[in-house]
Amino acid sequence: MDGVHDMGGRQGFGRVRHSPKAQTFHEPWEKRVNALYSLAVRLGIFNMDEYRHAIERMEPRHYLSASYYERSLTSLATLCVEKGIFTREELERYAQGQVPLSLPIGPGRANVATRQKFKIGDRVRVRNEHVSGHVRAPGYTRGKAGVVVDITPAYPFPDAHAHGIHAEDEPTYDVRFNAEELWPNSADKAHVHVGVFESYLERA
């Protein structure tokens, strides 16, 4: 989905708030969130693609204003309700207040039946497709051409895996793009490498 989570190349953001001593966690509750969504994954309640997609499904104003771990927490709460671990009513009773959840999930899709195999050196293009569900091709690569420079092991197709649809493993290709071709006249010169699932690609 073309959600606000798809941040690559968005303009208008300011300086990175960097510090060499930067921390991962700032509050004790954040560690509990991380521990409990990891537990839920280990228990098979949901997988990492479902987890990521539930973050993407957050209402955009909530996504942008929430801290990183509030987004994790919202995904965990949403998926536990959707998977029937507890109801929203029980959650809000325990929490003694309203709990904002992500918006409902839409349809996903299976691996693309007509997908092709590529080899190192092939020139490929990211298909010009708009899907409403989970997708791991960043919007900035859509319709853009690059070169396959490596092939990495197969993973479950995320567009299916996030939606409870049978997901076949498929290779991901390390595709090298030129930043100046991704954003003509408005990017620093560099190569941008993206791990692109086979179903997202066509021959260029």
Partner: protein, 198 residues
């Protein structure tokens, strides 16, 4: 639309929300407390940047190990007793050179090889880094204190699949001949992300 001030007033705090989930997990026999204690131990003892620093130091001092590391990162770090979660099927190690700077990011969320280089720092997960590093790499690196001459080319690695990346920094000249242990001490998480040179 309900009045937004009304939502604010009635919304449970993040602490209340996670308290609730922890209590409900516990009530269902899902051993939430145990998982939290274990996680806190893991992040303090196991998922630490010292792991990646050992890998880098070994690669600097053992050319055969470096070859294996660049060919199959997951297997090579395994030689040092380091592991990755099952869904991280592949570790790709990218080597910097005097004319090349590699830098990693995750524009869609926050993916990292956290069991090797440590959990990602806050700024790595922020909207500013995620939006800008792919498009304004040289500018962002400069803002982070890494002012690269034009002779150094930049490659950005966007972690969109579950293949994970780490950067093998250039060994500083003055450290030639140091022991692995001494070398490991100078390797930082920022250098393994690729936003700093040593």
């Amino acid at each position: 639309m309900p009045d937004s001030s009304n939502i604010q007033q009635n919304t449970a705090s993040v602490e209340q929300r996670i308290d609730a989930i922890e209590a409900m997990f516990e009530a269902r026999g899902m051993k939430a407390r145990e998982a939290i204690d274990e996680f806190e131990h893991t992040i303090e003892e196991k998922w630490i940047p010292e792991n990646g620093a050992r890998v880098v130091a070994k690669a600097w001092t053992d050319p055969e190990f470096k070859k294996r590391l660049l060919a199959n990162g997951r297997a090579a770090v395994g030689e040092l007793g380091l592991t990755m979660p099952p869904h991280h099927r592949h570790l790709v190690v990218k080597e910097n050179s005097p004319t090349l700077q590699n830098v990693i990011c995750c524009t869609l969320c926050s993916c990292t090889a956290f069991s090797i280089i440590g959990l990602p720092p806050d700024w790595y997960k922020d909207l500013e880094y995620r939006s800008r590093i792919v498009r304004q790499s040289r500018t962002v690196l400069k803002e982070l204190g890494l002012d690269l001459p034009e002779s150094i080319y930049i490659r950005v690695w966007d972690t969109t699949a579950d293949t994970r990346y780490m950067i093998l920094p250039v060994q500083p000249e003055h450290t030639k001949g140091w022991s692995e242990e001494e070398l490991a001490k100078i390797v930082t998480k920022d250098a393994m992300i690729g936003v700093a040179r040593l």
